[in-house]
C-alpha cells in the first residue's frame, strides 16, 4: 500500500521502521495542519511560523518512538505545535500576545482547524465524482445548472447527488471517530 493510503497509525509504524517514503508522507500529511495552527491559531508571523514548523518536524522525527498510541499522532503533533508556538511568542517578548490569543478565541480557532482538516481528510476518501460535486457547490458556490453543465448531468439531479455525497462524507467522518479507527 502506498504511504498516502495508510491510516495515521500505519504511517507511524512505517516511520518507526525507518521507511523514508513514510516520513515524506507524514510531513506532507501534517504540514498544512501545523502551519494552520501557527498562522491561524497563534497568528505567528511568517518567519516565526517557519521556525516553529521546522522545530515541530525535527522533534517529531526525534520523538516519534516515544509516542505511546500511534493512532494519536495528530493530537500529539497539535500539542507539540501549540507548545512551540507559545515558546516562540514568549521568546519574542510577546507574552502579552500569548495571553491575548489564549482561550476562548484560541481554543475556538484550534477546534475549527481540527474540524477543517478532519473534513478535508474525509473528503479525500470519497470517490472523485463526489469530491468534485461537493467542491463545486460548497467551495465555489456554483449553481446546480452550472454544475450540471460542467459534469454533463441534468441540473435537476444535482441536489440529490450532493445529498448522497454528503451522506457518504458523514459516514467517513463518523467511522473516523469510532474507537480504534484512524485518529483525529
Amino acid at each position: 500500500m502506498t504511504p498516502a493510503r495508510l491510516s495515521d497509525a500505519q504511517l507511524v509504524r512505517r516511520c518507526r521502521a525507518g521507511d523514508p517514503e513514510a516520513w515524506n508522507e507524514l510531513v506532507e500529511r501534517f504540514s498544512r495542519y501545523v502551519y494552520a495552527i501557527c498562522v491561524h491559531g497563534f497568528r505567528l508571523r511568517e518567519h516565526d511560523a517557519e521556525d516553529v514548523f521546522q522545530d515541530v518536524f525535527t522533534r517529531v522525527y526525534e520523538r516519534l518512538g516515544s509516542l505511546r498510541d500511534a493512532a494519536a499522532v495528530r493530537p500529539w503533533i497539535a500539542q507539540l505545535t501549540r507548545r512551540l508556538c507559545l515558546d516562540k511568542l514568549a521568546a519574542g517578548g510577546r507574552e502579552e500576545a500569548v495571553e491575548e490569543v489564549r482561550p476562548p478565541e484560541l481554543e475556538g480557532s484550534l477546534d475549527e482547524i481540527d474540524e477543517a482538516f478532519a473534513v478535508r481528510e474525509a473528503l479525500a476518501q470519497l470517490p472523485e465524482p463526489c469530491r468534485e460535486v461537493l467542491d463545486r457547490f460548497f467551495a465555489h458556490d456554483e449553481s446546480y445548472r452550472t454544475i450540471g453543465a460542467a459534469l454533463d448531468l441534468p441540473a435537476g439531479t444535482i441536489a440529490s447527488r450532493i445529498s448522497r455525497c454528503l451522506r457518504r462524507l458523514r459516514e467517513v467522518l463518523e467511522g473516523r471517530n469510532e474507537p480504534g479507527s484512524r485518529s483525529s
Binding site: 457547490f137 458556490d141 441540473a155 441536489a159 445529498s163 451522506r167
Partner: protein, 195 residues
C-alpha cells in the same frame, strides 16, 4: 432617510419593512426578492431538518439549503448598493451621453438580480425535492418555499430585463429567463407533489 444598505438582516422586521416602504429608491424590489429567496431557503432548511427521521437525504438537503441561504442573504444589501449607485450615476448623466462609469454601474445593477434569480432557481429545485420526498407534515412548507423562490426568480429576472444596460440578446437576460423558467417548473412540481 439616506440609503444605508448595510445590515438589513440585523434589523428588526418592522424596521426593515419601513425601509422598504420608505421614500428612498433602495432597498427596492431586488432586495425584497433576495430576502424572499432567503426566507424560502430557510424554509427548505427547516423541512430538511424535520425530515431526517424518514428521509435519508434530508440532512444533505438541509445543508444545501443553508448554503443557498448564505448565498442569498448578502444579495439583499448588494442589490440596494448597486441600485443606489446606478441611480446616482443616472442622475448626473448628460442626456444623450453614456459614459463608461455609468455602463459599469448599470451592469452591476443587472448582475445582482441575475445572481438572485439563479440562487432562487436552486432554492426552488431543492424545495421541489423536499416537497416530493420530505416528511409529509412539512411538504406544504416545502411547496410554499418553492413558490416563494419562484416569485423571487421572476421578480429578479424582470429587474434584469428592464435594466437600461441590457439588450434583448444579452447573455445575462438569457440566463435570468432560464432561471425563472426553471423555478416556475420546480414550483409547479412542488405544488403537484401532494400532501
Amino acid at each position: 432617510m439616506p440609503v444605508s444598505p448595510s445590515g438589513y438582516l440585523d434589523l428588526r422586521l418592522r424596521e426593515l419593512l419601513d425601509r422598504l416602504a420608505g421614500e428612498t429608491a433602495a432597498p427596492g424590489g431586488g432586495s425584497a426578492a433576495a430576502l424572499t429567496v432567503t426566507a424560502a431557503a430557510a424554509l427548505v432548511r427547516m423541512v430538511g431538518r424535520r425530515s431526517r427521521g424518514s428521509w435519508a437525504e434530508a440532512a444533505g438537503v438541509a445543508a444545501q439549503a443553508k448554503a443557498l441561504q448564505d448565498r442569498a442573504e448578502p444579495l439583499a444589501e448588494a442589490d440596494a448598493e448597486a441600485w443606489a449607485a446606478a441611480l446616482e450615476a443616472l442622475a448626473v448623466v448628460v442626456e444623450g451621453e453614456r459614459d463608461e462609469e455609468l455602463e459599469t454601474k448599470l451592469a452591476r445593477s443587472a448582475e445582482v438580480p441575475l445572481a438572485i434569480a439563479e440562487t432562487a432557481a436552486d432554492v426552488a429545485s431543492l424545495a421541489a425535492l423536499a416537497a416530493e420526498l420530505g416528511e409529509g407534515t412539512f411538504r406544504g412548507d416545502a411547496a410554499a418555499a418553492a413558490v416563494l423562490a419562484h416569485a423571487g426568480a421572476r421578480a429578479a429576472a424582470h429587474l434584469v430585463a428592464i435594466n437600461l444596460g441590457i439588450g434583448e440578446d444579452d447573455e445575462r437576460l438569457r440566463r435570468a429567463r432560464l432561471a425563472e423558467e426553471a423555478a416556475a417548473a420546480d414550483a409547479a412540481r412542488a405544488l403537484g407533489a401532494g400532501p
